[in-house]
Structure formats: structure tokens, C-alpha cells
């Protein structure tokens, strides 16, 4: 297999507060192969949106990417200039958000907003831009595109507005589409329409996608690989079929049990007792230890590194149950890591060793 | 209300720790902002001076020294004496009591009446709201000071009527503030939930809407004290407020007016006292506004 389109290595994004850093994203690795769909799944507050925003380069003060690399086509997005990132965003990499109407400007027609994107990243003539708008809106299943391009966002229903947002995201024929809960605000029957549409577009256009969601059902139906997040950590990363079939992290297993399915006839809901830890006060060791049925002494010291449970870097788990399996090597950007000491990086390199450069309290 | 106070003992903390908690809470809110902290210190000093006036004042406020009139500041009389030889410092110290009385009476009146009208209008909406608010509009349509003067001259020139007049003038603003707050709180889920538990309207208004409208009431009440001090002083200056020889700051300034060409001190010091008191309440009000209404960390402060 050729080099992945997107390779995230040991990414950490922290938010500075007066009481110490909030570790919203803490030492996460995953890859996205070209033409595939990766689901990032987790409960609210697990850091999945922050992870996606980090990849987008949309982290703002007091947030900061404190460690790690985001390689996109062999370029490291974390070291890229703001201007270069802007050139990528909306062009090669584009986004779709949860609340479609909130991400459209109410003062302009949707046609104007789409031509804006085209004007920023292409040198199409005005006529060609409008041609493209009609083509896009039509492609996204919006009836009579010439007419609807003149409509304002509030004249669209939620599902139609999300189609407009997707049209805007696809305007410049991106390589990579990052979608943050694109169907969560929609009703089931409308969600089905958008899922079908996105899946179809992804296949037709050879798009690569990262799809952030809290819905395991959406992951099962749309994604090729998945990253399960808990308390700022991608605790498991692997192929969707394999992970659903035999999860290699106790949290993934618990989460899969908990999701209510309308096909499930058990009399009660499966639960995970307790609640997620405070991101400002994470326990030493595994983040899931307090709720984990398998927790043992080894879980309480040192954050587990990524173990390669599948024998290669395509299936990773941050759980000591898989100790003995090879660990995913640290990113080669060692000088960078030295300049920016992080407990988590140290952990993964020394396999459970006590952090040395940590000073969060 | 007896039922309410009986209620409180069951699920509330013991009394004493509640008092301590209350004081701590007040201190946290006040000290969250340097404006309110300075203002609070000034106001606290005024209260202290008012309470201990007999101890602090070097002379009887009405003791005349006819052989030592209109004296400039000196060691014996730090602020000088007035036209009948009374010690200005002592009179200003005793004048603090009037200032505090004005604050208490005006704020109590505008709060009790204004809050009740605002709550009722905001809770019942519709015709009740219309009636109350249009009635208040009539009050607002007259210039406030003119209205106060009409009230005082109609009911008799004395200190009580002056304070009541100013209090009445301030009612509409308080009512409007509470009404708009009640209108929005009424839509909150917890008020819907209170209705859902079958509670009567009095309980919903007093226990569920009012406690959540307190911040704007406190802010407005505090700032209004500053305005009330100025307005009562103005009434007194015009001879419609507190009457000489009572040592109110406004009346003192009025009495000193005739001698301003002889010596400025009898008018300077009372005016200064008014200015400081107004500044104190204004700063406190501004600081509280920041903390209670716009503060990002209001919840942190309060918790």
C-alpha cells in the first residue's frame, strides 16, 4: 500500500487554563488511506471534535497543539504557515459541520457563498463559477438548482442546508473531506438521505473522508476504519469490521455494548458505570482504568502506548492487555519532542516509564 | 411567609453557617471587581461613620459658636464653621445618617413596589402587563425631578415626603427591569417544571422567578442610591427636601449659598461629601454590573 493520505502521529492538543492544561487531545495516532473513510467515534467531551479541528489547523488560543505531527501528503500541517494552511483549507481539504444553517451566512444567497469559495481558490470566470454552482447543487440532489442558488440559507430545511454545505465543501474538488457530526442534527429519514449521498459522492469522486460522530450505527454503515476516543485518547484504531467483531480495548467493547439498537431485544440497557475522568485531572496510567472491568495494577502507572494488536500499524490499542505485542514507533521528529517535553510522548517511548518533563500541576 | 421559613430549616444548612456562607458570598461578589471593591469600601465607611457619628464628631452638630462664624479650616475646626459658628465636620458626619436613611428608604420603596409590579406584569403577561406598564408610563412621562417636586409640595415639605417622592419616581425603572427579567425567566424549563408540579402562581413568582432576577435588581438598586442622593440633595438645595437646621448635606449647601462670596468652605465640604457618597454607590453599582450581569465568571465567583 502506498503512503497514507493523512498520517497523525502522537498528536496532543491542550487548552491552557488557570488551573493547568485541559488535555482535550492527548497523544493520538491514526492514519487515513487514500479513498477511504475514517470514523472518529466517542462520547461528548471525548475530544473528537478537537482532534478534527487540530487536523484542520483551526485550534485557537487558549488551545494549542503541544506535540505530534499531522502528515498530509508528506507535508507536516503542524509546521505549515498560516497562509499555506489557508490555501489548503476549502481547496484540498474541506469541512462539513454539524449545524448546517449555523455555518452558512444568512445575509448571502447560497449561490454567492459557493462562488466565494470558488473565487478564493480557482481562477474560474464568473460564468464558469455559476455553471459549477448549478452543477454542484444538482449533483447534491437539490431540485431546480438555478432557482435555489438564489435562495437564502433560511429558506432551506436542515437536510437541504446540509446539502448546500456539502456542495460548498466539494466546490474545489477536495482530496480530503473532514466532517464533524454532519448528520447528527438531522432526523433519521433525512440522515439516511445524507449518509447515502455522502457515501455515493465519496465513491464517485474518490474522496478520502474523516467522519466524526457519536453514533456507532453511522460508523458501521459508512466507515472503512475507525478511531475510538475516550478522555482525549484514541484508545483503539482499526478496520471497522475487525473492531466491531472483536474490539481490542475494553472501552470500545463497553461502548459497543451500550449503544441502544432497535434490533436489540434485551430487557435492559447495558451500561458503563461511572463517568469519564476530568480532562484537567487525568489519572496516572490508563484513562479508562476507573470504569474498566479488566483494570489491574499495570493500568495505574504510565499511559499505555499503542500496541499493534493486528501485527501491523493498521490495528492499534492503548491497552496493557496487549502488552508484549510490538508498539507503534514514535514519530521521528525527536528534536521537536525534546524542545516540547510531553508526558505522553515519553510514555509511549519508554513503555510505561514515569514521565520526566511533566509540569501540569 | 411563615411556612417558607419553617420550610427552610428542613433541607437547608444550619442557620449560622448559612449566615457565614452568605457573608462570604457577598464578599466574593464584591471583591471580584476592583470598582465594586473600592465602592464597597466607601459605602462601608459611610455606614460606619453614620453609626458612630456621636463618637466621631468633635462637636455637637447644632452647637453654635456665634463668636466664630464662617471660620476657614483650622486645627480646631478642620472643615471650618458655618454662618452660625457650627462645626462643618461634625455636621457632615451627622449628615451621613441622612444619606444612609435616604439610601434605605428610597431603595426599599422602589424595590418593594417596583419588584412586585414587575413580577406580576412579567408573570401574568397580557392584560395585566398592559395595565401595569401603561400606568407606569404615565409616571415616566413627567420629568422625574418635577414629579418629585409636585409630590413634595402636594403632601408637605418634609424629609419623609422628599424620600418617598424620589422612591416613587424610581419605581417605573425597577418595574421594567424586573418585568423583562421575569418575562424571560418565565420561559425557562425550571419554571415550566414548577408549573408542572402544580405550584400556585405566588409560589412560582416568589420562589422560582424572583431569586433568579436578583442580579439586575441589586445592580439597579445600588446605582439608584447614587441618583437618589443627588436628587434628595437637589430637593433640599431647592428648599423642598430636608429642612435646616437638620445637618443634611444638601440643606447645608443651600444655607451656605448666601455666603459663597465670603468663604467657599461651607459649600465645598458638603458638596464634596455628596460627591464621595455618590461615587461610592456608583462604583459599587458599576462593579456589580460587571460581575453579576456581564461577568463570565459569575458562576465561579458565586460557587
Amino acid at each position: 500500500m502506498s503512503a497514507p493520505l493523512l498520517n497523525v502521529e502522537h498528536l496532543s492538543t491542550h487548552f491552557k487554563t488557570a488551573d493547568g492544561p485541559v488535555k482535550a487531545v492527548d497523544d493520538n495516532s491514526f492514519t487515513l488511506e487514500e479513498g477511504e473513510v475514517l470514523g472518529i467515534v466517542g462520547e461528548s467531551g471525548s475530544g473528537k471534535s478537537t482532534l478534527l479541528r487540530s487536523v484542520m489547523g483551526l485550534i485557537e488560543d487558549p488551545g494549542e497543539i503541544v506535540d505530534g505531527r499531522i502528515e498530509y501528503r508528506d507535508r507536516d500541517l503542524t509546521t505549515m504557515s498560516d497562509a499555506a494552511l489557508r490555501e489548503l483549507r476549502g481547496n484540498e481539504i474541506s469541512f462539513v459541520f454539524q449545524e448546517p444553517t449555523a455555518h452558512l451566512n444568512p445575509a448571502y444567497t447560497v449561490g454567492d457563498q459557493i462562488t466565494d469559495v470558488l473565487a478564493a481558490h480557482t481562477d474560474l470566470s464568473s460564468e464558469a463559477q455559476w455553471e459549477r454552482v448549478y452543477e454542484l447543487l444538482g449533483r447534491l440532489g437539490i431540485p431546480s438548482p438555478e432557482e435555489r442558488a438564489e435562495s437564502y440559507p433560511h429558506e432551506f430545511s436542515g437536510g437541504m442546508a446540509q446539502r448546500v454545505c456539502i456542495a460548498m465543501a466539494l466546490a474545489c474538488e477536495p482530496e480530503l473531506l473532514l466532517a464533524d457530526e454532519p448528520t447528527s442534527a438531522l432526523d433519521v429519514t433525512i440522515q439516511a438521505q445524507i449518509i447515502d449521498l455522502l457515501t455515493e459522492l465519496q465513491e464517485d469522486l474518490g474522496l478520502s473522508m474523516v467522519w466524526v460522530t457519536h453514533d456507532m450505527g453511522v460508523v458501521a454503515e459508512t466507515c472503512d476504519s475507525m478511531a475510538v476516543m475516550y478522555a482525549g485518547n484514541v484508545v483503539e484504531y482499526g478496520r471497522v469490521d475487525a473492531v466491531f467483531d472483536d474490539p481490542k480495548h475494553p472501552y470500545t467493547e463497553a461502548l459497543l455494548r451500550t449503544v441502544p439498537s432497535h434490533l436489540d431485544t434485551a430487557p435492559r440497557f447495558d451500561t458503563i458505570e461511572g463517568s469519564p475522568p476530568d480532562l484537567q485531572d487525568l489519572p496516572d496510567g490508563c484513562v479508562f482504568q476507573e470504569r474498566c472491568p479488566e483494570a489491574m495494577e499495570a493500568c495505574r502507572t504510565g499511559r499505555p502506548p499503542y500496541y499493534e494488536v493486528g501485527g501491523d500499524s493498521a490495528w492499534l490499542s492503548k491497552c496493557v492487555l496487549h502488552e508484549g505485542k510490538p508498539t507503534r514507533p514514535a514519530s521521528p521528529s525527536a528534536p521537536d519532542a525534546d524542545a516540547n517535553p510531553s508526558a505522553t510522548l515519553a510514555d509511549s517511548q519508554t513503555d510505561g516509564g514515569k514521565p520526566t518533563g511533566e509540569g501540569d500541576r | 411567609m411563615s411556612q417558607e421559613s419553617a420550610d427552610a430549616t428542613v433541607t437547608e444548612r444550619p442557620r449560622q453557617s448559612r449566615a457565614v456562607a452568605g457573608a462570604t458570598r457577598v464578599w466574593r461578589i464584591v471583591s471580584a471587581n476592583s470598582l465594586s471593591l473600592v465602592g464597597f469600601c466607601i459605602v462601608l465607611s459611610l455606614v460606619f461613620v453614620a453609626v458612630f457619628a456621636p463618637v466621631l464628631a468633635p462637636y455637637e452638630p447644632s452647637a453654635q459658636q456665634l463668636d466664630n462664624t464662617l471660620a476657614p479650616p483650622s486645627a480646631d475646626h478642620p472643615f471650618g464653621t458655618d454662618n452660625t459658628g457650627r462645626d462643618i465636620l461634625s455636621r457632615i458626619i451627622f449628615g451621613t445618617r441622612y444619606a444612609i436613611a435616604i439610601a434605605v428608604v428610597v431603595v426599599t420603596l422602589e424595590t418593594v413596589v417596583g419588584v412586585s409590579l414587575g413580577l406580576v406584569a412579567g408573570y401574568y403577561r397580557g392584560k395585566v402587563d398592559e395595565t401595569v406598564m401603561r400606568g407606569l408610563d404615565v409616571l415616566v412621562s413627567l420629568p422625574p425631578l418635577l414629579l418629585a417636586m409636585v409630590i413634595v409640595t402636594t403632601f408637605g415639605i418634609n424629609i419623609w415626603n422628599a424620600m418617598l417622592a424620589i422612591g416613587i419616581v424610581y419605581i417605573p425603572m425597577m418595574s421594567r427591569t424586573v418585568r423583562s427579567s421575569a418575562l424571560s425567566i418565565r420561559e425557562e424549563t425550571y419554571v415550566q417544571a414548577a408549573e408542572g408540579l402544580g405550584y400556585d402562581s405566588k409560589r412560582v413568582m416568589l420562589k422560582h422567578i424572583l431569586p433568579n432576577s436578583v442580579p439586575p435588581i441589586v445592580v439597579l438598586g445600588t446605582t439608584d442610591v447614587a441618583y437618589a442622593l443627588i436628587d434628595v440633595a437637589t430637593l433640599s438645595f431647592l428648599g423642598l427636601g430636608i429642612q435646616p437646621p437638620k445637618p443634611s448635606w444638601g440643606a447645608m449647601a443651600n444655607a451656605a449659598r448666601e455666603y459663597i462670596l465670603v468663604t467657599p468652605w461651607p459649600i465645598v465640604f458638603p458638596t464634596l461629601a455628596i460627591a464621595i457618597a455618590v461615587l461610592g454607590f456608583n462604583l459599587l453599582g458599576m462593579g456589580l454590573r460587571e460581575t453579576l450581569l456581564y461577568g463570565e465568571d459569575y458562576d465561579e465567583v458565586v460557587e
Binding site: H262, S275 | Y190, L197
Partner: protein, 322 residues
């Protein structure tokens, strides 16, 4: 015993359609709830399922007189609900709200909020109120030591548990829950819903649950009503409907719901278009016609109404093709 019996309930709103049409005397009617029937027995859990805007929340709010219905008869414990005083009705039927963040008065300790409800409805003698508050908090999994805290000290899930404790405090016979766990994480949802089901069974309460989440509906209900555009289009035992849905809308809804299992390969029915606004819905014919894959000319004019499916009085479908 039948607790709640709703018959032909309608809730219509008049829509302001602008100045000119106002002058011309034209008014438009939004039929949020357009003639629904259902009943709930003691100890039974009934769920209204539907997408946003189908009228499911309005239906229960007007059934229990939180809103005044336009038409219809509602009986509570066999008696016309109009005969109950507000206080008596609220003591019998308690509502749990969707919005966990704001369901408790932020200026009142959670213990006091529960105690207030107990005292107001004279549930126990004054000296026992305190013990009852502790007991209720414990039942929903909140430590009684935390009762002096104000709501801001609790998470969304904890606030919803406290709200449930407060609803139970008045010892109602019917509990009505409007999407009480939407917005909460699945692991927290599961804890609360299990607790709710335990308490419902323990006290033999009737439960009316409103949700768009089919996974939750499946577990929590005995019977369900599937709502579309202000009407119940299918009604019956939850397992019957989930395993063998009859109405084309129910079929589409169930098939569109993502299943958290990549091994399940399903043929999804993806409906075209949106559910229209329930404004000026024609009284004649089936409101699902514009999106229905099985619609025929006959559907546009047919007399609609729930009818037993294959003679089963426990499974009702509002479709002329069944």
C-alpha cells in the same frame, strides 16, 4: 386499570400569515396534533415515536393540559381530565423534561427542590420530609450528602436523575418523559433509563415516553405509537411493530435507522424529501402520500384511520393497503 385514555385529541395553532391575508380574513391552521387516540394502563410503558415536528411533544403536553387542546376527550383514571384541579392532576401525572440543564431552579438546592414538591403535595408529614428526600436521592443514585448543593454542582445526567427524583416525590401514578436523555452520552443514558425502568416497575407506574430514538423506544416500551404529521400511523406491541412493521413510514423509519453492526447488511428504504409542515394538511387522504413508495391514486382521497392489521386488535395501522 387504564390510567390515561386519549380519544381524538387535536391541537391546532393559528398561524399568522401576514398583514394582507390578515386583512382579508385568511387564516392558516397548523395541525400539530390531528386526532390521535392512545391509552396507558398502570404499569404499562407507552412510547410515542417520531421525527422532529411530528407533534409527539405537543400531543402529550395537550393530553395532560399543559396546553389547552383544540378537541378531543382525555380521561384520567376513568374521569374526565377537566374535572381535576391543577394541583390534583399534577400530583397524579408528572412530567420529566428534555432539557436537563435547566430543569432545576439554579437558585435552589436540589434537596430543597425535592422537599418543596413533597410539602406542596402533602405527601408525608413535615417531620418525615427530610428522610424522604434522602431516600429519593438514593434511589436515583445521588448521595444524600449532596442535597445542599445547587444544580450547577451536578452534571447533566445527575440533574436529570434529580429531576426524576423530584417527579417521583409527589408519588404520581403516571410519569411522562419527553426525550429525557437526548443530549446525554450513551453510557449516561443507559444508566438513567435502566433506573427509570426499575422505578417504573417497582412503583407500578404508567409511563408515557416520547422519543425519536428507536433504540431507546425498543427497550423502554410495551406499546408504541408511530407518529407522522400529527397522526399516529401505526400502533401496537413494540416487538410486533419493530419485527414486522406494516405502515410504509414505519418501515422506512426502521430501515433508515443505522444499526451499530457492520455485519448486518440491510436494504434501506430511503424516503425522498422532508416531512412537510403540518400547515393546511388536507383532511382527505393520507398525509404520507408525497413521500410514500407505495402511494396510489386511491390514497389521495381515501378515508383514513387506524384499523386492526389482519384482524389483530392490538396492532393498528393507518394505511389502506394493509
Amino acid at each position: 386499570m387504564t390510567l390515561l385514555d386519549v380519544d381524538g385529541l387535536k391541537k391546532h395553532f393559528t398561524v399568522d400569515s401576514g398583514f394582507l391575508s390578515g386583512l382579508l380574513g385568511e387564516t392558516r391552521t397548523l395541525k400539530a396534533v390531528d386526532g390521535i387516540d392512545f391509552s396507558v394502563d398502570a404499569g404499562e410503558a407507552f412510547t410515542l415515536v417520531g421525527e422532529s415536528g411530528c407533534g409527539k411533544s405537543t400531543a402529550i403536553l395537550s393530553a395532560l393540559r399543559h396546553q389547552q387542546p383544540t378537541a378531543g376527550k382525555v380521561r384520567f383514571k376513568g374521569q374526565d381530565i377537566e374535572m381535576y384541579s391543577k394541583r390534583a392532576l399534577r400530583g397524579e401525572a408528572q412530567l420529566i423534561y428534555q432539557d436537563q440543564q435547566d430543569t432545576l431552579n439554579p437558585k435552589m438546592s436540589v434537596g430543597e427542590a425535592i422537599a418543596e414538591a413533597i410539602r406542596f403535595h402533602d405527601v408525608v408529614p413535615p417531620e418525615e420530609v427530610d428522610a424522604r428526600v434522602d431516600d429519593l436521592l438514593e434511589r436515583v443514585g445521588i448521595s444524600p450528602a449532596e442535597k445542599y448543593q445547587e444544580p450547577s454542582a451536578f452534571s447533566g445526567g445527575q440533574k436529570q436523575r434529580i429531576a426524576i427524583a423530584r417527579a417521583l416525590a409527589v408519588e404520581p401514578s403516571l410519569l411522562v418523559a419527553d426525550e429525557p436523555v437526548s443530549g446525554l452520552d450513551v453510557s449516561v443514558q443507559a444508566q438513567i433509563l435502566n433506573r427509570l425502568m426499575d422505578l417504573q416497575e417497582e412503583f407500578g407506574l404508567g409511563l408515557v415516553y416520547v422519543t425519536h430514538n428507536l433504540g431507546i423506544a425498543r427497550k423502554i416500551s410495551d406499546t408504541i405509537g408511530v407518529m407522522y404529521l400529527g397522526r399516529i400511523v401505526e400502533y401496537g406491541d413494540v416487538d410486533d411493530i419493530f419485527e414486522d412493521p406494516q405502515h410504509p413510514y414505519t418501515q422506512a423509519l426502521l430501515s433508515a435507522n443505522p444499526v451499530p453492526d457492520p455485519a448486518v447488511d440491510r436494504d434501506r428504504i430511503v424516503l425522498e424529501g422532508n416531512m412537510p409542515d403540518p400547515i393546511d394538511v388536507d383532511d382527505r387522504g393520507c398525509p404520507f402520500v408525497p413521500r410514500c413508495p407505495e402511494a396510489t391514486a386511491e390514497c389521495e382521497t381515501a378515508e383514513m384511520g387506524l384499523k386492526p392489521f389482519e384482524g389483530d386488535r392490538g396492532h393498528l395501522v393507518d394505511c389502506i393497503h394493509r
